[in-house]
Symmetry: D2
Amino acid sequence: MIKVGIIGGSGYTGGELLRLLSLHPGAEAVCITSRKLEGTPVGDVHTHLRGISSLKFESPTISEIARRCDFVFTAVPHGTAMDWVPGLLDEGAKVVDLSADYRLPLDEFEKTYKMKHKAFREAVFGMPELHPEVRGAAFVANPGCYPTGASLAAAPLVEAGLAERVIFDSKSGISGAGIAPSPTSHYPNLAENVVGYKLTTHRHTAEIRQELSRLSPGVKVSFTPHVVPAIRGILTTAHVLVKDEFAGKIPDKTEISKIYQEFYAIQNMNLMMGPGETEGLWFPGGAP
Amino acid sequence: MIKVGIIGGSGYTGGELLRLLSLHPGAEAVCITSRKLEGTPVGDVHTHLRGISSLKFESPTISEIARRCDFVFTAVPHGTAMDWVPGLLDEGAKVVDLSADYRLPLDEFEKTYKMKHKAFREAVFGMPELHPEVRGAAFVANPGCYPTGASLAAAPLVEAGLAERVIFDSKSGISGAGIAPSPTSHYPNLAENVVGYKLTTHRHTAEIRQELSRLSPGVKVSFTPHVVPAIRGILTTAHVLVKDEFAGKIPDKTEISKIYQEFYAIQNMNLMMGPGETEGLWFPGGAP
Amino acid sequence: MIKVGIIGGSGYTGGELLRLLSLHPGAEAVCITSRKLEGTPVGDVHTHLRGISSLKFESPTISEIARRCDFVFTAVPHGTAMDWVPGLLDEGAKVVDLSADYRLPLDEFEKTYKMKHKAFREAVFGMPELHPEVRGAAFVANPGCYPTGASLAAAPLVEAGLAERVIFDSKSGISGAGIAPSPTSHYPNLAENVVGYKLTTHRHTAEIRQELSRLSPGVKVSFTPHVVPAIRGILTTAHVLVKDEFAGKIPDKTEISKIYQEFYAIQNMNLMMGPGETEGLWFPGGAP
Amino acid sequence: MIKVGIIGGSGYTGGELLRLLSLHPGAEAVCITSRKLEGTPVGDVHTHLRGISSLKFESPTISEIARRCDFVFTAVPHGTAMDWVPGLLDEGAKVVDLSADYRLPLDEFEKTYKMKHKAFREAVFGMPELHPEVRGAAFVANPGCYPTGASLAAAPLVEAGLAERVIFDSKSGISGAGIAPSPTSHYPNLAENVVGYKLTTHRHTAEIRQELSRLSPGVKVSFTPHVVPAIRGILTTAHVLVKDEFAGKIPDKTEISKIYQEFYAIQNMNLMMGPGETEGLWFPGGAP
């Protein structure tokens, strides 16, 4: 049984990790931290886990966590994860950082997030379809919400060299904005509405550009996020502008479908050498 | 042109009053107050009124308001309206109080709201269908949101002496909870949900009981509110328990329909003696 | 591995059964029927099951189904289930009927559903908390959606003899109205709305009354359903009117809580004698 | 009083026209047609107009309508409006066609809508900001829902010669899909969802291209529509790709704002020479 810790567990991300771990046959959450909520049962905050998780929020030291856990998720804001990650790694824990602190190269991070990095380390970018080295990695930087769908949606066409530019127009549910009420998440403001924000300046653009540039140096990337009246999920429309040189020979639907199938088949083979990719994660979504 | 002032105009109620006044051919908003927002254009707060109202929030004295306005709406929380109303009345303004401070008799108010009243006055209860003396009144206490629909829904059957007890089960949009974001109004908490609250203890029960008891002393009243995923509006289901003595002779649909038509026709005649009941208020709702 | 068949699998109920069975470690869906969709892959209709279920809709005879399946769910409309159930039972299959055909005694069924019953059989009412004989039964009539929550919400107080009358006011998501688009489920009609229907005449009232009368003969039951802008779930508010004889000695919150805990603890013990009540069904709900 | 007729009044468009006309001080709806609903009071179909409009659906001849009405709206599907418009014009009525039959030049219409035009006439494109000749026109083709917002959003930048290409990504409420229930408008399918459709093939693209090409010949236009869980309204994100020649000298926010203000001020002056542009249409939207 893999013993798992969650640093910063009072938000939606912490609650969802706990929920997924409660379903996992080979892993067990043994520690969840929150300075403010120390001593509070997690079911008081994540009420959907009442009777499912008996953990209480704790406020242990890095060493304590590393001693008790094989594997740690850092679910704290960017700028804070860097206070935890190097210590955890040095004490031997495997770490998945859910913040933005280790997704970009040092200089790109400091330019994008407008802050000095206190403790940089190299991480594997946690997108297994594009980074099969995730398997077995000791330290993974989990991609942002928007970059995951956006990059995977365009990657096959970009890698095929077709794309001059990709314009991503994303429509997100509001849970990505977090557990704290705000004017944006206020029901009368969001219901019956669609709200664009950070129209050309969202920081996730850097991650998308990084991943797609690896597949086709120089590809141009734009990204515009919106929130829609929905709780979960993101629909990203990728407007792919094809290079002039393909004028008149743009692949048809069947060919495009083949490009996608081949791209993701290859990727999957790499991953499927090892055991149980989806263990503890596989379940069919509900409908309606 | 009637000059109108709004005390406490930074919330949804203030914004809606301004909107309705902008449509009114015989009235004009000349003053809207907010201590915190003094100097701010109302369009910065009520963005739907940008370009429609050029007022700025002010923080005038009671005397100033009374001098500039013929008519004042107090749209402040209960416990605060009582700081304004008596002064405004004494200086000659007509007042509609939207808070709960003057809806109930003194003792009933103090028991229900668990506070001492600082400055009680008699008001006309602002439900013109049951209180035709609203016409021409100098001081009107506007009913609460739930009591309006609930009382009017049951009044004809209660007045007809049929009702032993009425159990009101109300489903409200969230705008009644106000402009300030809260966990209840947080989109992920309200969407796809229905939430009951103050199950047997909501303070509006006293207003409903007061109005229905006038029509049939001793009628029993229960009230349970819920919020549903909607912005505006309340649907109230009135479960009317008929007195035992009517067993076997409960009126059928046609008779009940007649009871309602006669009740509201009579009421309307009283009101329609004077001019323009709906002036500036009449407009068909949109659909879809 | 228990082999399971689903009669009438083109609706939401059929899709949800397939989904749950895909998660069940000890059962396997081997047959799903639909005359109209014969030959169509289920993933074409229940698109969330694409890649999860490889079944195709079939149109076999009763004998064929009984031969291939140990266990059959009938998910067809009331009036149609009776064409299937007796044959399946006679051929040795265990059956759970999801329609209304076997939930009520014969005369009560015919009066409530205004039709002759073609093939009545005695079934166990499928509410294990009130009917522990569900364990091991060969034929179970699954309760309606509203009666499940409503009966269980009031059962402890009714059994304790406190309730003179229970008025159920239910707020349902729209998926209960089925997979076929209709004016009621048309988004512009339901969003921002609450709609009451069959105010005093919904046929589920008979089921609720049947179950609560078993616990306290003579208890009075009213039921009013509504749809709200939500997909899944029902919130039922049970307004419990306490008998006059309890005036002045109504149990307080703590005592009421104890009544509920004891009622459901006892029921659970009966059930927990055997193995694996929740096998294949247990998973924590998502939030947000 | 201008006498107005509505051809094809059983849908959302007909209901909304009637509602707006009920508010208009200088116009009056005198006739609304529907073959299928002949004799039915409009309030039975457009229930929000019960007690507001006393019209009944009729099925008159073109001559009758032209005799009774000064002004006619054709609110029938494309391909059907052409059965009405020439006759109405020939008999002297002013006509606004809400269908797509007269928005495009003949050849462009036939190519886009894949049908022969039975009775082409020249119409003024009903976008007064770009076509001031709307004032006084006898026949106006009202633009489609998407083209209105899309064209106006990009027009100033396109006219300024900055735009190489504009990619419109639209998010629409579902009322645009009409009054008839369908799988797309089925609440369980749309709530908590965003659905793209006709990704590169929506016929409104031709209208947008037509209007923007008038301002800058050769500008490239793409358009992708989506429906979101909302009743009314469209939010269109216009991704404007600036011509290479402007590299390094793209206008900043202030300059762009000035381009928009000047573009729409000019346009408005043209219109404001005459009386009462907004008569009967002006009212502040509600919030929340």
